[in-house]
Symmetry: C2
Subunit: 386 residues, 2 copies
């Protein structure tokens, strides 16, 4: 008789979790599984960050902070924008959040009116549309493909916009494809939104993990853009659940009200830890690891191509390769199960990223060392008989 | 032109934050302010909990956990229900969350359909109705007063229920009053909800901080009741942002889907810390502190009564005294400003807890030592000329 809210019918679980559960079962039976499904760096948090947390804990820093975060951390993030990007972002516009997830929750809680439509790329990170749906906004998919480097174009956005459209969310680097937007591309998308009095949100959580050029921040394209970032990926603080958001000034007060009521404050130990994230010794560690990700990508992309898994998107950032598997399998979901069971390789089927021909695509994460990636490629080669 | 979602018009900031900002300003000018406005224990997290976090960090435990939390922590919470309450709550029904705030967010995201009404006590913790409103549910206030110990009665709930009502949320111990519900009272409220096919949620975040009798858990009144708890108050882990929720079995899968999409997982360091929360050496520390809270209450309640601030609710738990100030002031909000400016005592006006005669009431928290409470009482006595 009792039932969940209607929105639950539109919120999908991660299909990869089912595969992960099966992978753990196989491992408990003694099978060796190579994990290329996980969207998480395989490095523990760098020691200077951990040490800063331990130091803060030993000083009794366990009480609530301000709802938008420690003033000194908001200032450190502001300084980071100046130093790394040469962009002025005042600390007053920065909210520290429970990961990028927490940032997107606050953004859509602040902006999404019931029934209003928001444009999102498909394929894209599935949680984004589910978070939006939770606040009763309606996600509208813009199908993207290789012809636009898996990013929405201004023409697509303009064409998809109607009188119910409230805004646009893009990601650079994108997940699952790792593709970037240039600053002129970001500006062009922002202009489309501005001309329609719409909101523009840019997910930059993979910033820092780029291998050709540094990704430009949307903060450089206007102070009316919402920018979401995270300490999870480049700073390798996944489990700490800490991120941030740059908010257009007119909305800071409303986001603060929501943060006071919905979360109270972000994790205090995580915030003290993150104060060490921007120090030179930490950055040195992170840049070494970034070079390691690049080595992995440069090994894996041609190796997958060589066995019939075409890397369809230019993988300039993040730690994913999005492959067209239609030359070797009719359905990527069935393929993902088959590779797990028969080859001991776990990957994420397109189904987790939307409804735009998901059966053709499968995502491989290079979040494991080159030796294991080489073993995975060898297993795939044998499996496909190539 | 760009504006926030309509819900923001219904979400109030904390009025006490304005007072707190002014208090900090006065302190920066050298004034001594006694803080009785803060809903946070003044103790740092107990050493065994902190040490468990440090140990986990040194072992590299910084990656994501399962969305509903570490299995061993869910089991430890299940064991705690058996040991402390004699109630069987399977670990599979327990979700670890980003504080009680995170639990309530997941509960209402799971249950609140747009426009449906939910019954909440007024006065009550203001975030609860704002979280509900964020998920487009409509909070409906049940005015409660001294005649029912500031708790809703089954008759009130039955009378307020209509065809749009989806459920009831109560708190025991309550905030701002510290009053408890007995197990028969909880059962009677549950029966009213059951008879109407409604949801019943019980906020137990102040459990453990009771001074006459232990509060009964609503888990003992049926496995169809949602129970929210926290590591913040009794376990004194406020800044870690960790709590939990006991979920009726039929809804566990939907809450897990939401947790996967909205939060990914609760803080990993906090979860490892909390594994030490139930150990005997930790409980011994917590019970000493509980005795200290009792000493404070037993000092403060008669002292406030003696200067014309009538303690209107039987303060059996939490760390608040809710006082009727109408004998000394016409408006509690003006009184709170006046006490801060002129007496150097910060307290929370009734306005933060609802619209049920808030001008008559003011909340004093005993989250500071007896020496400071005595100084506060002396200042108030001088202020009122008593």
């Amino acid at each position: 008789m009792l039932r969940s809210a209607q929105r639950l019918a539109d919120i999908a679980p991660f299909h990869v979790v089912e595969l992960l559960t099966r992978a753990r079962q196989l491992e408990s039976e003694g099978r060796d599984i190579i994990h290329m499904e996980v969207g998480e760096p395989d490095f523990a948090t760098p020691a200077p960050i951990v040490n800063a947390a331990v130091d803060a804990l030993n000083r009794g820093k366990t009480l609530y902070t301000q709802a938008l975060g420690l003033p000194e951390l908001r200032q450190a993030i502001s300084d980071f924008y100046r130093q790394r990007y040469g962009v002025a972002v005042p600390a007053a516009r920065i909210a520290v959040t429970n990961g990028a997830s927490g940032a997107l929750n606050l953004a859509f809680a602040c902006l999404a009116d019931p029934g209003n439509e928001w444009l999102l790329a498909d394929p894209g990170y599935p949680c984004n549309r589910h978070i939006l749906r939770t606040y009763e906004g309606r996600p509208v998919a813009i199908p993207v493909g290789a012809q636009s480097n898996f990013q929405p174009t201004p023409a697509q956005v303009a064409s998809a916009w109607n009188e119910n459209t409230a805004g646009l969310l893009v990601a650079s680097p994108a997940n699952p494809t790792g593709t970037l937007l240039t600053l002129p591309e970001i500006t062009a998308l922002a202009d489309v939104c501005r001309a329609r009095a719409g909101h523009f949100l840019v997910d930059e959580i993979y910033h820092g993990l780029t291998y050709e050029t540094d990704a430009p921040t949307a903060c450089a394209a206007g102070d009316d853009i919402w920018v979401i970032n995270s300490f999870s990926k480049y700073f390798q603080m996944t489990g700490w659940r800490l991120g941030w958001m740059v908010i257009p000034e007119a909305f800071v007060r409303d986001v603060e009200k929501l943060a006071q009521n919905l979360v109270l404050c972000p994790s205090t130990p995580a915030q003290y830890a993150a104060l060490a994230a921007f120090q030179p010794e930490t950055i040195a560690i992170l840049e070494e690891r970034r070079a390691e990700f690049r080595r992995r990508r440069d090994f894996l992309a041609p190796a997958l191509e060589g066995i019939g898994l075409a890397v369809v998107a230019r993988p300039e950032g993040a730690f994913y390769l999005y492959c067209d598997c239609s030359a070797v399998a009719a359905d990527s979901f069935a393929l993902a199960r088959e590779l797990l069971e028969e080859a001991g390789v776990a990957a994420t089927p397109g189904l987790d990223f939307g409804t735009n021909a998901p059966e053709k695509y499968i995502r491989f994460a290079y979040t494991t060392g080159v030796d294991r990636l080489a073993e995975a490629v060898e297993r795939l080669r044998r499996h496909f008989g190539r």
